[in-house]
Structure formats: structure tokens, C-alpha cells
């Protein structure tokens, strides 16, 4: 080989060696800025407004209803003895008093023992949609309007743009289609938007009575003989009708991903009929949403799944129901973590689960009494900005509690940056400059 050829070839190889690692893995365009801490993240929006005094501070009825009864009703998540009297937080066996049967603990070791808790954090908003926006965007913007997509990019968009993940790698499982919940899977930010949005299901609708009547009789077409020609014709028609990006109000999966999701829908109806869906032992409401989230995890093994719960918001008018919903939400969280560790080998030991409510609840009660003559609590005052959160799983320090009632550490906007940190694109999210400037990865707060 001539010297000139040798130099040329060496230069080509060196250039390829520098460029290709940024293009090849999963088609990602951006280099990872930090070493990933885990391969998967499950983010539970422990939603609906969870009052500090009744949850992590374990004061049960003592700091809300004037009864001197304390105790822990979230024993999958927290360490602490359950209340010994006035038990109304459980299920209701036939002929027994309302809520008198506590649900057995699922986890042999609490999340608190297994992971890290931030005992006293600060929320951005005392309202639901503003609060949920801050959880999924990491932004401190408080003027977010209802019925519009988030102003700033969501963690789904960061994950897809900076992480190079495809649509079926990123999921949002919502508990409802009301309260603008379906709009949280993508922002309307011009640099991000629907092209980077997450797949979304509200399982209560998609796989409930409405979905069964509308979707369950779908034909399953042959992928090569039928679907391929159909998509070829559709793609031809779409190319003849060029629309602007964002004109079709939904995210886009590839044809291959669409076929996978269609099969998932069909199989979910079949498994539902056969009673094979992975549901928490005590299901319904939030528990059911968590069950469908577990099914999505089982089938797709996504890089990021966010699931929303909200039953505890019944506290506005029914404090007893709020205690029961909190107890069930803890049960569902324990079930989900246990299911990931024991039933999904591809995710077991490779996943971090994070959890936080979007807001707390008021310090003082409202005038509404429930069947036990217990007062309801709304949200919106300074006390409703007090929340706790945490994380558990790979690379998360165990048995660690950060902060306390008199020493708040962390904000709810930290979670977006924490997920970016876990999946390896923290610096890019920070450099984008759109998140709360005070936000930090929870790993950096330890």
C-alpha cells in the first residue's frame, strides 16, 4: 500500500470510529452524556393529592380528625406499625364494618428499606393538572392551562429525542381520559412535540366496556399478505397529501410497531376474558390501572413507563374513602414492584421505580363530613405543596431517608432530571434549558 493510501484509509477509519458510535445504537442522534444507572424506569405518579400528615408522617387520624390514633397504612412503601384502633382503611368483608379488613402486605421488605426516600419535598402546584405537568416536564411553569398540552417538553420527549428510543419504548398509562390526562404524553413545544410523544392508554376506557364494544371485534390481518399492501397504499395516499407536522393529533408508531400494538390490544382482550391479566390481589380503580401497566411492562419491556393514579382525591368529600384509596395505592405499588422483580426477567434487577404525588393536601379540613363524621380535605394551600417521594432499584442506595419535616430536600421537578440521569441523558436535558433551574437529579441530592 502506498503511503498516501495508507494515510487516507487510516483517516477514514478514525473518522468512522468517532462518528458511528453516536449514530448506530438504536438510531440515537445524541451521545449519552452520563453512564446510565439502569435500563428501565417505571415512574408512578402517586396521584390525587396525598397529605404528608396522613401518609409518610403516619399520623392516621391524629392530625386530621382529632382522634389520638396514629399508624402506618402504607406498609409496602414505609416502615412503621399499622394503627391498632379505628381501622377503616382496609377492605370491607361482607357483613363487617366499612374498611375493617387491612390488605395483607405484599413486599417482604418495604420500599423504604430497599431504596431511598425523600421525606419532605416541595411540589410546584397545589392543583392536579399543574402538578402532573411539573412531574412529567420537570418545569416550574405554573400557568399551565387545562385542555392544552404541556407548554414544555415532557420526559417522554426527552427520552425519545435524546435517548433515541422508539415510540413503543416509552409509555404513559393514565387512569382516565378526563382532566386533560391524555394530553400529558407530549408537549406542544416546537422543538419536541408529538413526534417524540409516548404511547398512551387509559385502560379503564381502552379495555373497559367502551373499548370492548369498539375494538374487540377487530380483524387481525396477515402481516405480509394483507397489512403490507394496505400500508403501502396508505403511505402512497399520505405522500400525495402532505400535511404539516402536528396536524394529525396523535403520536406516530412505525408500521411494525402498529402491528405489535394491535396484537397487544387483541391479546389483552383475550387475556382479560380468560382472567390472565396481572392484577393486584385487591384490584379495581387505581389497582386496575396498575395491572394494565404491568401488562404493558410484561409485553413491551419499555425503557420508560409512567403510570398515574388518582383515587385518593376522593378526600374532598370522603376521608374514609381517601384512607382506603391510599392503602390500596400502596398495595398496588407493592404489587407492581414485586411483579417487575419476579415476573419480568428482562427487567428484574435492571429497573428503577420512582414515585411521588403531584401535590399534597390542605392543612385544615373543609366542612364536608363522611359516614364516619370525618372531615374532608381539599388542596391548594401551602401544606399542599408538602410531598414525599422516592426511588428503588438498581444503583439506588438502600434504607436511606433524606430530609425531614423540618428539613425539606428536593422538589417534584427533580424527577424528570433523575429519570434523564438514570437513562443517560441528564446533561442534554439540562442544556436544553427548559426545566426548573433549581431541579437536580435525586442522585445528586443524596
Amino acid at each position: 500500500m502506498k503511503r498516501r493510501d495508507f494515510v487516507k484509509q487510516t483517516a477514514k477509519i478514525a473518522t468512522a470510529g468517532l462518528v458511528l458510535p453516536y449514530l448506530l445504537p438504536s438510531g440515537r442522534l445524541f451521545a449519552r452524556t452520563n453512564e446510565p444507572k439502569a435500563e428501565h424506569v417505571v415512574y408512578v405518579l402517586f396521584g390525587g393529592g396525598l397529605r404528608q400528615q396522613d401518609s409518610i408522617l403516619q399520623r392516621y387520624l391524629s392530625d386530621s380528625q382529632g382522634y389520638n390514633v396514629e399508624g402506618n397504612i402504607m406498609y409496602n412503601m414505609l416502615e412503621g406499625a399499622a394503627p391498632s384502633t379505628k381501622i377503616a382503611y382496609g377492605t370491607t368483608p361482607s357483613g363487617q364494618p366499612n374498611g375493617s379488613q387491612p390488605i395483607p402486605k405484599i413486599l417482604s421488605q418495604s420500599i423504604q428499606k430497599q431504596g431511598t426516600l425523600f421525606a419532605e419535598m416541595r411540589a410546584i402546584s397545589g392543583g392536579h393538572y399543574g402538578g402532573l405537568n411539573s412531574l412529567v416536564t420537570g418545569s416550574g411553569v405554573q400557568g399551565q392551562g387545562l385542555k392544552v398540552r404541556p407548554v414544555n417538553p415532557t420526559i417522554f420527549e426527552y427520552a425519545r429525542k435524546f435517548g433515541g428510543f422508539k415510540a413503543t419504548d416509552v409509555w404513559f398509562i393514565g387512569n382516565t381520559i378526563s382532566n386533560s390526562t391524555p394530553l400529558l404524553n407530549s408537549s406542544r413545544h416546537p422543538d419536541f412535540g408529538l413526534q417524540y410523544g409516548a404511547n398512551f392508554f387509559a385502560p379503564g376506557i381502552t379495555f373497559g366496556g367502551d373499548g370492548r364494544a369498539t375494538l374487540s371485534n377487530a380483524k387481525i390481518y396477515h402481516p405480509q399478505e394483507e397489512l403490507e399492501p394496505m400500508y403501502k397504499m396508505k403511505n402512497f395516499l399520505d405522500n400525495s397529501f402532505n400535511i404539516r407536522q402536528g396536524d394529525i393529533p396523535g403520536i406516530k408508531n412505525t408500521d411494525e410497531e402498529k402491528t405489535r400494538i394491535k396484537t397487544f390490544i387483541e391479546e389483552t382482550f383475550n387475556r382479560q376474558s380468560a382472567g390472565l391479566l396481572p392484577m393486584p390481589p385487591v384490584s379495581g380503580g387505581d389497582g386496575s390501572t396498575i395491572g394494565y401497566a404491568a401488562e404493558v411492562l410484561r409485553v413491551f419491556k419499555p425503557k420508560l413507563l409512567v403510570v398515574n393514579m388518582s383515587n385518593i382525591d376522593g378526600c374532598h368529600s370522603n376521608f374514609t374513602g381517601y384512607l382506603q384509596a391510599m392503602h390500596k395505592a400502596d398495595h398496588a405499588l407493592g404489587f407492581l414492584w414485586n411483579y417487575i422483580q419476579t415476573q419480568i426477567p428482562e427487567m428484574s434487577g435492571k429497573t428503577i421505580m420512582t414515585f411521588v404525588p403531584e401535590c399534597g393536601r390542605n392543612l385544615n379540613h373543609n366542612p364536608i363530613l363522611d359516614e364516619n363524621d370525618w372531615y374532608g380535605y381539599d388542596h391548594g394551600d401551602a401544606n399542599s405543596l408538602r410531598v414525599f417521594g422516592g426511588m428503588v432499584g438498581k444503583n439506588v442506595p438502600s434504607n436511606l431517608m433524606i430530609g425531614s419535616e423540618n428539613n425539606p430536600i428536593g422538589k417534584v421537578t427533580d424527577f424528570t432530571l433523575t429519570i434523564a440521569d438514570i437513562l443517560g441523558f441528564k446533561d442534554q436535558v439540562k442544556s436544553a434549558g427548559i426545566i426548573d433551574p433549581d431541579a437536580r437529579s435525586l442522585f445528586d441530592r443524596i
Binding site: P182, G204, D210, T214, S240, F241, I248, I251, K258
Partner: protein, 165 residues
């Protein structure tokens, strides 16, 4: 060059310029921009409008308000609207009430099938390029027994253009 020759050339140039100027001919034809009808479609149908039109199209009778509201809720419950509409369309296609042209009609009267399908779904005639592409595609798939008017109708019903009016 003397002065006489210069004057002669100057006069000749002026004469030629005068003769070369010609009055523009007006044919009294109205100028029209050239574009396809689909470019005028810029308003997205709502979920209810889309399915009301589609079910009327496929079943030759409108759906009830309850059915349309239910369908709207299901669409809202899924992030990929295009995907969920395809699933709903395939549910419609699985109904015994759906009214579709026969495969024989598609194969034997391909030109008419293409024309009618465009008019039925897009309320416009196909362009020559579209007509040619579909003619070639249908002819190329004649030997595929699974290639049916149902697939063509599904592609049209799920296409971006059908979401707009």
C-alpha cells in the same frame, strides 16, 4: 466610419426597433393556478365527524349518537390516533353489515373502481399519477387472493386526507 454612415445605421436601428415591438395578444382566458383538490382540505375532522362520515360511507346508514360518543372516548384513550382508527376500521370491516364492492369489480373494472373509490372517500377525482399508481398496484396484486377491496377501503379510510375536509 463617416457621419453619413453613422446616421444611416442609427435610422435603421430605430426602424427595426419600431417594427420589432408587437402588441401582446390577449386570449380572454382567466388565469388559474394549477393544483389538486386535496390542497384545499385543511380542516381536521373531529373524532365524531370522522366516524359519522365513515360509518355512513361503509354501512350506508349513520351510527347512533351513543355509538359515536363511545368511539370518541376510545380514541381519546389511545395515544396513536391513526393506529386506534385502523383498529376501529377493522372492526367495521368485520361486521356483516358493511357494504363493499366485489373483488371481481375491482379487478375487471379497475379504472371505475379507482375513480369511484376516490370520489367516495376523498370527494374528488384521482390525478393521472394517482390513477396510474393504483391501476399498476391493483394489477400487480391480482394474483394475491388476500388483496381485496376491503384493504383498499381500509387504506383510504385510514389515510391522512380522509381526516381532513
Amino acid at each position: 466610419m463617416n457621419m453619413h454612415s453613422f446616421k444611416l445605421i442609427f435610422i435603421l436601428f430605430g426602424l427595426l426597433s419600431f417594427i420589432a415591438c408587437q402588441k401582446k395578444t390577449e386570449y380572454q382566458v382567466v388565469n388559474t393556478d394549477s393544483y389538486g383538490d386535496n390542497l384545499n382540505k385543511n380542516k381536521a375532522k373531529s373524532n365524531i365527524e370522522y366516524h359519522s362520515i365513515l360509518t355512513t360511507n361503509l354501512f350506508q346508514k349513520p351510527s347512533s349518537v351513543n355509538e359515536l360518543s363511545r368511539t370518541d372516548r376510545v380514541i381519546q384513550s389511545c395515544g396513536d390516533k391513526s393506529l386506534i382508527n385502523e383498529v376501529i376500521i377493522s372492526n367495521y370491516m368485520n361486521s356483516s353489515q358493511v357494504k363493499l364492492p366485489t373483488r371481481k369489480f375491482m379487478v375487471d373494472s379497475t379504472e371505475r373502481f379507482i375513480e369511484e373509490t376516490y370520489v367516495r372517500f376523498f370527494i374528488r377525482r384521482p390525478t393521472e399519477a394517482e390513477r396510474t399508481w393504483f391501476r399498476n398496484y391493483i394489477n400487480a396484486n391480482k394474483s394475491n387472493p388476500n388483496f381485496s377491496p376491503e384493504l383498499v377501503y381500509t387504506a383510504f379510510a385510514a389515510s391522512d386526507e380522509y381526516f381532513f375536509y
